[in-house]
């Protein structure tokens, strides 16, 4: 008998998870159907890849002029170009993710409220968790499609060298984490705020604080820490013979 009751109780314990999963699939399917319908999603993907390729090519041309002119061996210059292209593409994609991830989720729940469809969802057995996860998964699915589609483009850096495969993997992991994190911020405010407009404003304010804000604090902190309690700050004018300022960056007034 025990062998019969055991799977039963295991099944009962698993049932809520199975239900939640079915709910996530239900919401995700619905959202993706709307998002991927027609030509728009594919046109956006194509234009995005074309612009990314153009950007990569321009970075290559720029670096070809500057790097090759004052670096010795061709192999070293090639690696340098590879690193520069990798850096530029990854920064551009990060900026895209920072802007797009919250925009995909900031309306996810508040729009249901505004369009008065949330009640219809709330009386189904689908759980709140399933609604939230389904919304997040479907919003991020398209974003991940954009990210994954750029991998072949990114692989061009291997032609130049200077970047190891694990660098690329690490870069994409950070990108994916950023997408999930900022997408969640948007979803949070979407559930919190009554209106999509308010949710969007709150989301971008938070994203700004998390990106520009933390960068500023980091810069502030590192400068304060390195200069210590130097009396430099008390002087009315920066010294022309400051050891940190190189010859080229000397202020013009110092003639």
């Amino acid at each position: 008998m025990t062998s019969l009751t055991l799977p039963g109780s295991a099944l009962r314990r698993a049932a809520p998870f199975a239900g939640a999963f079915a709910g996530i699939v239900a919401i995700g399917t619905k959202e993706l159907r709307g998002r991927m319908r027609g030509r728009r999603a594919f046109v956006v993907l194509t234009v995005y890849l074309a612009l990314l390729a153009l950007f990569g090519w321009m970075v290559y041309l720029m670096n070809e002029r500057t790097v090759v002119s004052y670096l010795g061996t061709a192999a070293f210059a090639s690696a340098q170009i590879g690193r520069e292209i990798f850096k530029a593409l990854l920064i551009l994609e990060t900026v895209l993710v920072v802007f797009l991830a919250p925009s995909f989720t900031a309306g996810a729940i508040s729009l249901e409220r505004e369009k008065q469809t949330l009640d219809l969802l709330a009386v189904t057995p689908i759980s709140s968790l399933a609604i939230v996860l389904g919304k997040l998964a479907s919003a991020l699915a398209y974003l991940f499609l954009l990210i994954v589609a750029s991998i072949p483009l990114m692989a061009i850096v291997f032609v130049f060298g200077g970047v190891a495969p694990d660098d690329v993997v690490r870069g994409y992991l950070v990108l994916a984490t950023t997408a999930v994190g900022l997408g969640s911020v948007g979803l949070f405010f979407s559930a919190l705020a009554r209106r999509t407009q308010a949710a969007t404003v709150l989301t971008y304010f938070t994203v700004l604080a998390l990106t520009a804000g933390t960068t500023f604090v980091f810069a502030f902190w590192s400068i304060m820490a390195s200069s210590g309690s130097s009396s430099l700050a008390l002087r009315p004018r920066p010294s022309c013979r400051s050891p940190t300022s190189g010859g080229a960056r000397r202020p013009p007034s110092c003639g």
């Binding site: 239900g19 079915a22 239900a26 619905k30 709307g34 008065q116 469809t117 009640d119 219809l120 709330a122």
Partner: protein, 323 residues
């Protein structure tokens, strides 16, 4: 038949204001039950509590023996709900819309496919299967919303003002549809602030105002009681003293249960006779020398009852929510 929806002493406060104030209801299985009341009477609040969308402040509500407070998840599986104002996902096709809600209830792909065909046939949208929801007329969207509430084949349907915003033709179609659903064994709880809309359709009604049930029963029963306890309004010529005299005379007549003189000079009689008895009463009054200016029986349809009940309370205690 057994009671499938039971509401006991339901109370719901919004910021200290009672929207529902000790409401009791019993709905038998297989009925079309009408909740009637003016706007703000507490109909929507009651339905939303039954639909597990709102927590009651006090009291209990059960659907099919399941408490909406303690077991909302199970309640959701036995009821279909159509709110008074609802949106539709307009970027979806009609069949996708129903498919989505089928998935929400965890139906298998095979069952969903069959359900979509059956329901679209039922609500007469089979030819709109691949149309976008946004392209449907208001009446069609209403029927689609009703279909969405049926995807999991619930025993109880809660419809909040389903006919509002529909043109007369769409109303007739909706009424036909609800009758058909009833014949399929569904119990339907439907709210409206327009009584004639429900009078023809419903087997039982409850009249609600200020969050309380003022009268509840079978439509025929309520009408019969009303006819028994109808009100005669009489005005005499000659001011209050003569009116008081007339009131005293009327109070002694048979078939008059109660006679009351209102401050404006109108005499209200609780009258238990039929039309012939009323004619006899009038003749006798004139014969006794009373100068009658108006002699009118309050109209005996439910509309009048509704107005009376919601404006003045129960006429002479003739109608009671005593089921």
């Amino acid at each position: 038949m057994s009671t499938i929806v039971r509401v006991d002493g339901l109370v719901k406060h919004y910021d200290g204001v009672a929207a529902v104030d000790g409401l009791d209801l019993q709905v038998e299985e297989g009925e079309i039950f009408g909740l009637v009341g003016p706007n703000g009477a507490g109909k929507t609040t009651t339905l939303r509590i039954l639909a597990t969308l709102l927590e009651p402040t006090a009291g209990e509500a059960e659907i099919a023996g399941l408490s909406v407070r303690r077991n909302p998840a199970a309640v959701r599986r036995v009821l279909g709900f159509m709110p008074d104002v609802f949106g539709v996902y307009d970027d979806m096709k009609v069949w996708e819309y129903l498919d989505f809600f089928g998935r929400c209830y965890g139906l298998s792909a095979d069952r969903r496919r069959r359900m979509i065909g059956d329901l679209l046939e039922l609500v007469d949208l089979a030819d709109k299967r691949d149309a976008y929801v946004a392209e449907l007329s208001r009446g069609m969207q209403q029927r689609l919303c009703l279909a969405h509430a049926l995807v999991h084949d619930p025993a109880v349907l809660l419809l909040d003002e389903p006919a509002s915003g529909l043109d007369p033709r769409a109303r007739v179609e909706l009424r036909e549809l609800l009758r058909e659903l009833r014949s399929l064994g569904k119990t339907i709880l439907i709210s409206s602030h327009i009584l004639p809309e429900l009078e023809e359709l419903c087997s039982s009604i409850a009249i609600i105002d200020h969050g309380r049930v003022l009268a509840q029963g079978r439509v025929a029963e309520i009408e019969a009681r009303l006819r028994l306890g109808s009100v005669l309004r009489i005005r005499t010529v000659g001011g209050l003293p003569t009116a008081e005299e007339a009131r005293a005379w009327f109070a002694e007549q048979p078939a008059v249960a109660a006679a009351e003189l209102l401050p404006d000079g109108t005499i209200e009689l609780g009258f238990t006779g039929d039309d012939a008895a009323a004619a006899d009463l009038l003749a006798a009054a004139v014969g006794a020398g009373h100068r009658i200016a108006t002699f009118a029986r309050a109209a005996s349809d439910l509309e009048e009852l509704f107005l009376q009940v919601t404006a003045n309370g129960l006429p002479g205690g003739a109608i009671g929510g005593d089921r």
